[in-house]
Amino acid sequence: MPRNLIDITDLSVAEIDELIATAEDIIAHPAKYQDACAHKQLATLFFEPSTRTRLSFESAMLALGGSTLGFSEASSSSTAKGETVGDTIHTVSCYADIIAMRHPKEGAPFAAAQYSEVPIINAGDGGHNHPTQTLTDLLTIHREKGQLDDFTIGFCGDLKFGRTVHSLVTALSRQTGIRFVFISPEELKMPDHIKENVLAKRGLAYEETASLEDAMPALDVLYMTRVQKERFFNEADYIRLKDTYVLDPEKLVPAKSDLCILHPLPRVNEITVAVDKDPRACYWKQVKNGKFIRMALIMKLLDIRV
């Protein structure tokens, strides 16, 4: 059976530490890895649009000396003809050594893994999980804070459908000394399955608030999210909620001087462009880190060591 990454908990804490260490080594010594995946092929199957995730996967594989193939929207694949996920994956696993897939339906990568003969990486499944974004977030926090323990993190915005939020909360729940603050409107609160199955089961406390201003002074890390139009069945609800939180320089006045501001991107207007100049804005570093941690992950799942 190939090794897959469907959910962040498919990796142990020790394995995540190992991936972060590899990514740090790739950043320090990129030439050492330039032929690590020579003659290997990565298929990027994106049934839903993406800029960063797809390009970072492709960039990662190219930087490892491998090559890529795939599609960037469902309409250019046989899905448009009614092909099932299983049949698509069965086909692609005949051509590629490893598959990164994004799909609008929750659990599609889990379904894919049942049909694949090569490793499957979940590159986002609906509002459910996005484990490689989580690895990116963890690498960024590690690089900015020097560790993954003992800090207060605030998650702000769409916590109901925010797949990156669910995966990151799950990953951090396995660390020690993490204080969670969930900042959202009532309609977009953190789902019960995260609060009960992830946090409560481990005896971890969390705070819920609707006020970003109230939460700001205590935060070491602020994880902003976009209210995602594509997750709403009712457009009126989206319009009502989309501008609930807008982070601007004024709101950052009471924040800590070493606050680390993260965002999985793309943003719409939840972080104003003026914040980009603030040294606490780390979301562009996050984008860059995404490539390095994906390089480390591809090597691990292909069992390639340098």
Binding site: T84, V85, G86, H103, P104, K105, E106, G107, A108, F110, A111, D125, G126, G127, H128, D192, H193, N197
Partner: protein, 141 residues
């Protein structure tokens, strides 16, 4: 009521009173050609009232289905008029194609040919979660 009134078959005992018809449907007992007796509201020292189903055929009962519906049910296997085995059930760790996910965003709703897989989430609360999308489902019996 004695359980040895059938010669070769299965007796499902300690069914919660009023639930026998649910079990009849879930086990698709209407498809059997043999005698099936549903006995409702039998007096029980332990339960007050209970239902019993007697199936006059040595069929393989899906214990996962029964365990999910009611883990307190006991399954008695009868051979030559004698009970040869009494099975106690428990909530199964994994359910395959017994219950289905209702989350409209779940891949199993879009592609119903996929096996519907649920994993036991909390034995005390009798909750399961969809293996694909993590949506929780309470036991609905």
């Amino acid at each position: 009521m004695n359980i040895d009134s059938i010669q070769n078959g299965v007796v499902l005992d300690h069914i919660q009173a009023g639930k026998s018809m649910d079990i009849y449907r879930y086990l698709r007992l209407e498809e059997l050609d043999c005698s099936v007796a549903i006995i409702k509201n039998v007096r029980s020292a332990r339960m007050g009232k209970k239902d019993i189903i007697k199936i006059d055929s040595p069929l393989e009962v899906d214990l996962d289905v029964l365990g999910y519906i009611d883990p307190n049910i006991t399954v008695n296997i009868i051979r030559d008029g004698v009970r040869i085995e009494k099975k106690h059930l428990e909530l199964p760790q994994r359910l395959v194609n017994i219950i289905h996910c209702k989350n409209p965003r779940c891949i199993t709703v879009a592609e119903p040919q996929l096996d519907a897989i649920f994993l036991l989430n909390d034995a005390e609360k009798h909750t399961y979660r969809c293996a694909y999308c993590d949506t929780e489902k309470n036991r609905t019996f």
